[in-house]
Every structure is written in C-alpha cells, then in structure tokens.
C-alpha cells in the first residue's frame, strides 16, 4: 500500500463505520447511486405530470440512504423483497434505470414487460423479487426465500423491506415468528417514515419504536437513523453477518421521512409544511452523506459535479430508451398467466 493511502487509512480510524469498511471509490459510487435514485424519482414524477406515465406511483425521495445503506453489504445474489415505495430499493440492488423507466412506460423492455408498472417493479436477475401492491405482502415471501437459502445451502441472505404501516398486518407477525423459530437468514427492514399514508405511527402502532416488536420474536431489534448512510449500512452489515452465520433474523428499524405525498392523490393534510421543510432542510440524506464525504476528503466539488452530470445523462438516456421501446402486442394479453410449456 502506498504511503499516501496509508495516511488515508490511518486517518480513517476514527471515522464512522462505512469510511473504515469501504474504499473511497465504493463510497463515491454510493453517492452516485443516491443521486441516481433521487433523479430517477424526479424524472418519473415529471413524466407522470406530463401524462407520459399513467396509474399511480409512490416516490421514495428522502429515503435514499436507507435503501443504499441496507443494500451496501449485500452480495449480488442476495435477495430482497420490496414495497409499493420500491424504486430506490430496485436501484440500490443494481437495476438499470432505463429498464425501470421502460416498465413505467408500459413497454416490453421494462423489467416486467409492461405488465407490472411502478408498484410491481422487480429485477429478479439482480435478486429483487419485486415491489408489492399489498402492504406486508413481501414479508412472508422473504421468509420463504430464506427458507430456500437454508434448505438449498446457497448462502444467500434475504432482506425484506417494508414500511411502518406494515407492522400492523398479521403477515408481519406471522413471518417474524417463523423466521425466528427456524433461524432463517433474513433481515426485516422497517423503513419508518412516520406515516402509513395519512396515519402516523403514534396513531397506528402501540409501541414507540417498531424495533421493539423484535423482542416478541426473540430477535435483535435495532433502531437506526435512516437518513445517515453509515448508520444504516453498519446495522445492515451486522445483521448480514449474523444471518450468514446461521444465527437467524434481525429487525432493523430505519427512521426516515418521505418528502412527497403518499401517492399522486395526497393533499398532505395530516402533516405540516413546516415538518416537511424541516426534514428537507436539516436531515436530507444526500446532503448529509455528501457533506461527510467532502469533509473527510473523499470527494471534492469537481467530483460531485461529475457525479451529478453523469446521473443527469443516465436519467435522460433512460427516458429516451423507454420512449423508443415497443409496447406489448394486444395478442400477448394472456401471456405469463401460466408457465409456458415447450
């Protein structure tokens, strides 16, 4: 190792977890992807406003550090189940934005060949078993994937993302219990953004921290600041180690905030403008991470500019790809309902 690098390594000793664990290049990649998620969401929103995309969508702007932090220690063949607010998870797990846009445009080049749209976005090749239109729908599925991993000895770890709202569905409780009794390699990640649609966790949930639910199922329950990338990644890293060692599941509660309304039809009557602005101004996950990277000397302004430019181009190219892609033929309407036999 060259002297300069050694100095960097030494000076890193007192830095937060990710700066010790990952290379500067890897961390710059993280910033790149956090921007990619945000610009993707903004691009999707704009296409929606312009009538290019129909249906509805749930944007994860403000939650980028959570998606990236959880996925940071995952290997390419580890798996996730995601939620209706799943664009960030999809990108964090390695999806290409061009094929995601194509899906939103209902095109055959989309990840679901135009059948699924935003709410069912997936990238099975990269281990994303799919977003879900049903709150808590993905949680037992993740446990099933972890059962496969254990039985088939693939060594895969499975992450189930879900929102705070999901912790009051029966499926959540049944799934956590099974994961615990069978010591499965699964990590339950509750992205607590304070609200399930209009209902605050204070109004919906009997415990103060959803991580407390873990005690009922004899697994570790960890609360992290979901807007601080390093904190999320560190908790995820430990949970992945535990899962790979065969010690069973972990529940991570990642406290974060969504900037946009729940979906397109939200009038934001259940929260104040001040609350939203406070989160945006003081706890923005990208700003926080970018500032740290700069302060710790991992990136300079030119580096940041370069990332922003590259992301802008990726988004523009992705939208062009989506527009230019073919739509499915009506004659294929009943494809994929059942497995096609040769």
């Amino acid at each position: 190792m060259a002297g300069a690098s050694k100095a960097v390594v030494d000076s890193r000793a007192n830095l937060p977890f990710v700066y010790r664990q990952y290379s500067p290049e890897q961390l710059r990649q993280v910033l790149h992807k956090m921007y990619l998620i945000r610009r993707f969401e903004e691009g999707a929103e704009e296409c929606y406003m312009r009538g290019l995309i129909h249906g509805t969508m749930h944007l994860s702007i403000g939650q980028e550090a959570s998606a990236m932090g959880i996925c940071m220690p995952l290997a390419e063949d580890d798996q996730i189940t995601s939620t209706h607010r799943g664009h960030g998870h999809c990108i964090a797990k390695g999806a290409e934005v061009s094929r995601m846009f194509a899906e939103f445009f209902g095109k055959t080049t989309g990840y679901c060949k135009g059948r699924g749209g935003s709410m069912h976005i997936a990238d099975v090749a990269k281990g994303n078993l799919g977003a879900n239109g049903i709150v808590a729908g993905g949680i037992p599925i993740a446990v099933g994937a972890a059962l496969s991993s254990k039985r088939m000895k693939t060594g895969k770890v499975v992450v189930s993302f879900f929102g705070d709202g999901a912790n009051n569905e029966g499926a959540f409780h049944e799934a956590l219990n099974m994961a615990a009794i069978w010591k499965l390699p699964v990590i339950f990640v509750c992205e607590n953004n304070g609200y399930g649609m209009s209902t605050s966790t204070a109004r919906s949930t009997a415990v103060k921290n959803i991580a407390e639910r873990a005690a009922a199922y004899s697994m570790p329950g960890v609360v992290v600041n979901g807007n601080i990338f390093s904190e999320v990644a560190e908790a995820s890293f430990k949970a992945v180690e535990r899962a790979r060692a065969g010690e069973g599941p972990t529940l991570i509660e990642s406290k974060t905030y969504r900037y946009r309304g729940h979906s397109k039809s939200d009038r934001n009557r259940y929260r104040t403008k001040e609350e939203i602005e406070d989160w945006m101004a003081n706890r923005d996950p990208i700003t926080l991470f970018e500032t740290e990277l700069r302060d710790f000397g991992f990136i300079d302004d030119r580096g940041i500019e370069a990332i922003r430019d590259a992301v802008a181009k990726e988004i523009a190219d992705g939208i062009e790809f989506a527009k230019a892609s073919p739509a499915p033929e009506i004659a294929t309407l009943e494809n994929y309902v059942y497995t096609e036999h040769a």
Partner: protein
C-alpha cells in the same frame, strides 16, 4: 317537485348516505384506512370526520383482517359499522372474517344473533393500478350464503342502496366501481332506500336483453343508444344485487326479447354471467330463446399495467356493440 334536478357524483351520494345514516342512528359509525383527515383513498368519506369526529369516523391501522373482525364484533353487539376496504382487492386479507364469521355467525348460532355490518369495496380496473389494485371480486363473495352483495351503478342507487344496507339486519357487501365515483346523476335529498335484491330495467327494448352489472350498465346503455340507429332495440337490465339475485326480472325480460347477453367486468368464467345464463337455461325462458346465450366478461388474466392491455382485458362499448349486433342479426 325539485325546481332544479339536484345532481351529485356517485362518491358524494355515498358520502351523503353515510351522513344521513349517522344522523338518524347513533349506532352507525365508519371504520377504515385513511378515511379520516385524508378523506378516504377515493375521497368518499371526504370531510365527514370534521362533522362527526374521530369516535365515529375511525382510522384503523393497516390491519384489514383485524379491522373487518372488529366491525363484525361491534355489529353483533349492537353497533352499526360501515367498514371501508381501501381497495376491494384487500378483501383477500379480510376474507376470514367476512366468509367464516360475518356470513355464518347467525346461522351457526341458530339465529341467536344478527350481523348488521356494511362493508364497502372500491373495485374494478381502468386506473392503471395494475394487478393487485384493479380486481372485481364480487362473485367470490356472491358465492357465500349469509352475505348480501350489491353493485350500485348510479349515484341514485349508490345512496339508496347504502341506506338500505345500513337498515338491513344482515351483512351487506357493496362493490363500488372506482370509475363510477366521478359520475354525476340525480340524487334526491333526504332519506330514501333502494331495495336490495331487486334488478332495475334501465332501458326497455324488444330485440335483446343485456344483463349488466356496475359500470357495465353504463357501457351497455351507450351500446344500446349506438345500435338504436341500426334499428336494434335493446333492453338493459341493471342487476344491482348479485346475492340474492332477482331471477324474475331477468326471466321476464328474456321471455320478452328472446335473446340474452351478460356483460360484467370480472373474469368471464365461473362468474356472474355463468349464474345468469344458468338461471335462464333452467327457467321457462329457455323455450323463448332464439339464439345462444352470450357472455362478455374479463379476459382470463390479472389486470395488466400497460393501458392498452388493461383496456383489452375488460369489455368495452365497442365489444358490447359487436356482440349485441351479432346476436340480433343471428351471426351467432
């Protein structure tokens, strides 16, 4: 007589019915996800929470099975809950309480209790919400003795049938097509009811009976109007209730027109069309038939996201026109 005919949207008509029901009876209350300050996912409850408070307009956690069960328990013990599923698709999560409990409790207990619960289900496709937010599951519940299942097709009926449902001592499941919520029509002021179990002839005709449900009633009426110019005279029967089904109105209409077309949005096979066709085939109307019975229903697929595929999945006005024309001209 109204000087001006008062018009409300279908959603407003339901909201007005719920307000009237709450004004008339202290025991009536509303439960569901985001029905309070949010006003409901489709703004059906709107600002009712401001008028009736959070004790009577209750936001539940995202807990459909538990929520439906709480409504059943309250109904059995003297209250009159109106429970909103945010989307009819989530009936799948509440099914245990609906099918095993609400529908059977009176029977299993030998008539010792009634279950006067009303459940509302925003249903159907056409909004680009894809496979888990677009289904038409009414026939599932229609298969369960003990439940009553209705599908109002106009703002007038949405109000009158909801008020009938609240007054009904048994569980009533209301399927409301999401694309109807904005539809406007005449809605009388004050309290009135539209009977559960009674179909309505929306348009009289001699050549063909179309039995339709929910939004397909509107599409069938459009098709009938379009075919008038070709000299084809269509009778449109709005089924309104799928359990208990109004056999007589269907049979009488088919005896008059000698042809039957069933139109509904749910998946075609094993659905309402099968029931309507079979009841005609089993009745004296069978001898009057001049042509095979035809069903137009949804394709054998989940609802796709792509808008053109989505449209192709459920019957459109042009499909009804083509089918009706073929039937009357004897192409079938």
């Amino acid at each position: 007589m109204d000087a001006v005919v008062r018009e409300l949207s279908y959603a407003q008509a339901i909201q007005e019915a719920m307000a009237i029901a709450m004004d008339m009876d202290e025991r009536v209350f509303l439960m569901g996800e985001d029905i309070g300050v949010y006003g409901g996912a489709f703004q059906v409850t709107g600002d009712l929470v401001e008028r009736y408070g959070t004790d009577r307009v209750i936001d539940t956690p995202i807990s459909e099975l538990g929520g439906a069960g709480v409504a059943v328990g309250a109904a059995v013990t003297g209250m009159r809950p109106i429970f909103e599923f945010q989307f009819s698709d989530f009936a799948t999560l509440g099914m245990e309480q609906i099918v095993n409990q609400a529908a059977k409790m009176r029977f299993m207990l030998g008539g010792e209790v009634s279950v006067p619960v009303v459940m509302r289900f925003p249903a159907g496709s056409g909004t680009g919400a894809a496979a888990q937010h677009s289904q038409s599951l009414e026939a599932w519940l229609g298969h369960v003795p003990g439940l009553k299942v209705i599908q109002p097709a106009t703002p007038h009926d949405a109000k009158g049938m909801l008020l009938a449902a609240v007054a009904d001592p048994d569980p009533v499941m209301i399927f409301e097509h999401k694309l109807l919520y904005k539809m406007k029509g005449h809605v009388p002021e004050g309290h009135y009811t539209v009977p559960i179990g009674k179909a309505e002839i929306r348009r009289e005709g001699r050549d063909l009976t179309i039995v339709a449900t929910s939004i397909m009633v509107q599409k069938a009426l459009e098709a009938a109007a379009a075919l008038e110019g070709e000299g084809i005279d269509i009778e449109v029967v709005d089924l309104r209730t799928i359990r208990p089904i109004d056999r007589q109105t269907i049979i009488d209409s088919v005896k008059k027109t000698s042809r039957l077309l069933c139109v509904y949005e749910a998946v075609k096979t094993l659905g309402i069309g099968a029931e309507v066709s079979a009841l005609v085939a089993e009745s004296e109307a069978f001898d009057y038939l001049d042509a095979p019975i035809v069903r137009l229903g949804g394709a054998e697929t989940p609802i796709p996201y792509n808008p053109d595929l989505e449209k192709a999945t459920v019957p459109q006005v042009s499909d009804i026109i083509a089918a009706a024309r073929d039937l009357v001209k004897g192409v079938r």
